[in-house]
C-alpha cells in the first residue's frame, strides 16, 4: 500500500512518463527515413525565435558581470584579470544557462503550444491517417533541432557577451581591443569549452523533449494547450538547473575544473 501510493505520486508518474517518451524518441529517431526538411525548418524557426533575446541578454550579462566584478578585483589588486574572469564565467556558466533558460521560455513553450493545439484540433491524428508518422515528423525533428540549436545559440551568446564585457572593462579602465581579446582568449582552455558545449547539448535535448512531451499529450480543450505551454516552461527550466548541477559534478570528477 505504502509503495503503491508512492508510485501514484504525480511527480514520479511524470518522471516515468517523460522517460518513456524519451525512450520512444530514440526508438523512432533510429528508424529509417528522416524528415530532414522539417528538421531544417525547425532549426531556422528556433534560431529566429530566440536569437534576438539571447543576443541582448548575453550582451547585458557580459556588461553587468564586468561592472560588478571590478570592485572585488580592484580590492585584491587584480584588476588586470577582469577580461579573463569575464570570459571564463561566460563560457562556463552564464551563456549556457541563460541561453537554455531563454530557450526553455521561448522554444519549450512554443513547441508545447504548437503540438498541444495540433493534438486538440486532431491535426496529429490527421497526419497519422495520411500515412505520416507524426512522432517522427513532429517530435523527432523538434527535439533534434533544439539539441543542435541551443549549443549554437550558446556559442553566439559567449561571443556577444564578450563584446558586452569589453564595453564594461572600458567604462572605467582602459584596455585596448587587442589586449582584451588576447586576455579573454588566453584564459580559456579546452577544458572550459568542451563541458560548456556538452552541457548545452543536454539542455537543448531536455527542452525539446519536455516541450514535445507536454504538447504531444496535451489535454483536450483550449485550456489544455495553455497548460501544456506553461508546464513545459516550468519543467524545462527545472531540468536545466538539475542538469547544470549534474554537469558541474561530472566535470569536477573528470578533473575539468
Amino acid at each position: 500500500m505504502g509503495l503503491a501510493k508512492k508510485i501514484e505520486n504525480p511527480f514520479f508518474k511524470e518522471v516515468g512518463e517523460i522517460s518513456r517518451f524519451t525512450a520512444r524518441f530514440f526508438r523512432e529517431a533510429t528508424k529509417p527515413k528522416q524528415e530532414w526538411d522539417e528538421f531544417i525548418n525547425q532549426c531556422y524557426w528556433i534560431g529566429f525565435k530566440a536569437l534576438t533575446l539571447v543576443g541582448i541578454t548575453a550582451f547585458i550579462m557580459g556588461l553587468v558581470l564586468t561592472i560588478q566584478s571590478r570592485p572585488t578585483l580592484v580590492e585584491f589588486g587584480a584588476e588586470s584579470l577582469l577580461p579573463s574572469m569575464v570570459s571564463v564565467s561566460l563560457v562556463r556558466e552564464i551563456s549556457p544557462v541563460i541561453t537554455a533558460l531563454i530557450c526553455a521560455g521561448k522554444i519549450g513553450s512554443g513547441i508545447g503550444a504548437e503540438l498541444g493545439s495540433m493534438r486538440v484540433t486532431e491535426q496529429i491524428d490527421a497526419m497519422e491517417v495520411s500515412g505520416t508518422n507524426p512522432f517522427k515528423y513532429l517530435v523527432v525533428t523538434r527535439v533534434l533541432a533544439a539539441t543542435v540549436m541551443v549549443p549554437v545559440l550558446s556559442s553566439l551568446a559567449i561571443a556577444i557577451g564578450l563584446y558586452g564585457g569589453f564595453l564594461g572593462v572600458n567604462m572605467k579602465g582602459d584596455v585596448s581591443w587587442t589586449l582584451y581579446w588576447h586576455q579573454a582568449y588566453n584564459a580559456l582552455i579546452y577544458g572550459d569549452f568542451l563541458p560548456s558545449i556538452i552541457k548545452t547539448i543536454f539542455f537543448g535535448f531536455a527542452i525539446g523533449i519536455v516541450g514535445c512531451y507536454k504538447g504531444y499529450y496535451s489535454q483536450k480543450g483550449t485550456e489544455g494547450v495553455g497548460k501544456s505551454a506553461t508546464t513545459a516552461v516550468i519543467v524545462a527550466s527545472l531540468m536545466v538547473f538539475i542538469l547544470d548541477l549534474i554537469a558541474v559534478q561530472v566535470a569536477d570528477i573528470l578533473g575539468l575544473t
Binding site: 495540433m118 484540433t121 497526419m127 491517417v129 495520411s130 500515412g131 505520416t132
Partner: protein
C-alpha cells in the same frame, strides 16, 4: 443484400477505464452506400470510426476493411489501406501552419513517389479543390477561411487520394443551416462522381435525410436499431422514439 460488405465491424468492445463505450457493436457497410450513425453526444460514435481507421485500438472484436483484418496489418500495410479510407475530422484538422496547397500535398508524401508528386500533384490539387468549389483558395492559410470553407478544404484533402470509403465525423455540426445544406449536397455529388461509400456520423436531420441510405442507432454502446429513416420513425421502442423526439 447479398453483396459483400466493404467494411464489416463485428462485436467491437472498447472501454476507457470504467467507461464502457462500445459493447459488442457490429455493422456492415456495402458498396456505394451512405450509412448514417446516430447517437447521443458521448455515445462513442467518434471512437467507433477511429477504431475503423486504427487511430484507437479496440479491446476486442474484429474490423474488416476492404477484405483486410486491420488488427493483423503491419504499420506500412495499414498506411496503404488508409489511402483507400478517407477520414473527415469533426474539427477538420487542417494543418494551420500550412497553406491550402501544402495541406492537400501532405497526404501525397507517403503514397506518391517524388516524381509523381512533381508531375501530377499540382493538377490533382486543382481537381480536388474544384470538386469542392474552392480552387481560388489554393494559396490561402486555413485561418483565412470560413467554417464552411475549411470543411470543404478538409474534404478536398481526403479526396486527393481518391478513397473508396469516406468516414465523416459530424460533417455539418457547428455550421449554419445554409452552409450545412451545401456540405450535404457536396457529399452527395462526391458520392456520385467517385462512387464512394460512406459512414456518416450526424445529428443533423436535413443531412441525414439528404445523404443517408440507411441508419444505425448507437445506443448503450450497441447497434440498437437499424433501418431507413422512415422505418426508424415508425419504431415503437421507447429509446428510439425518445431519440427522434429529442432531435
Amino acid at each position: 443484400m447479398d453483396k459483400k460488405p466493404i467494411i464489416q465491424v463485428s462485436n467491437l468492445n472498447k472501454s476507457f477505464g470504467e467507461n464502457h463505450v462500445l459493447k459488442d457493436f457490429s455493422l456492415s457497410l456495402y458498396e456505394a452506400e451512405n450509412l448514417v450513425i446516430l447517437g447521443k453526444s458521448g455515445s462513442g460514435k467518434s471512437v467507433l470510426i477511429k477504431c475503423i481507421i486504427r487511430l484507437i485500438h479496440p479491446d476486442s472484436g474484429e474490423i474488416m476493411v476492404l477484405d483486410h483484418d486491420i488488427s493483423e496489418l503491419e504499420q506500412d500495410e495499414m498506411d496503404h489501406l488508409r489511402a483507400e479510407v478517407g477520414f473527415l475530422f469533426q474539427s477538420n484538422a487542417l494543418y494551420d501552419s500550412m497553406t491550402v496547397r501544402q495541406n492537400l500535398l501532405f497526404p501525397l508524401r507517403k503514397h506518391w513517389t517524388k516524381e509523381e508528386r512533381q508531375d501530377h500533384a499540382e493538377s490533382a490539387i486543382q481537381e480536388a479543390l474544384e470538386d469542392v468549389g474552392l480552387a481560388h483558395t489554393i494559396d490561402m492559410m486555413p485561418v483565412e477561411l470560413s467554417g464552411g470553407m475549411r470543411k470543404r478544404i478538409a474534404l478536398a484533402r481526403t479526396l486527393i487520394l481518391k478513397p473508396k470509403v469516406i468516414l465523416y465525423d459530424e460533417p455539418t455540426t457547428g455550421l449554419d443551416p445554409i452552409t450545412a445544406r451545401e456540405i450535404s449536397e457536396l457529399m452527395n455529388s462526391i458520392q456520385k462522381k467517385y462512387k464512394t461509400a460512406a459512414i456518416i456520423i450526424s445529428h443533423d436531420l436535413n443531412c441525414i435525410r439528404m445523404t443517408g441510405n440507411r441508419i444505425i442507432m448507437l445506443i448503450d454502446g450497441k447497434n440498437y436499431a437499424e433501418g431507413t429513416y422512415e422505418n426508424l420513425l415508425q419504431n415503437e421502442d421507447p429509446k428510439v422514439k425518445d431519440f427522434f423526439e429529442g432531435l
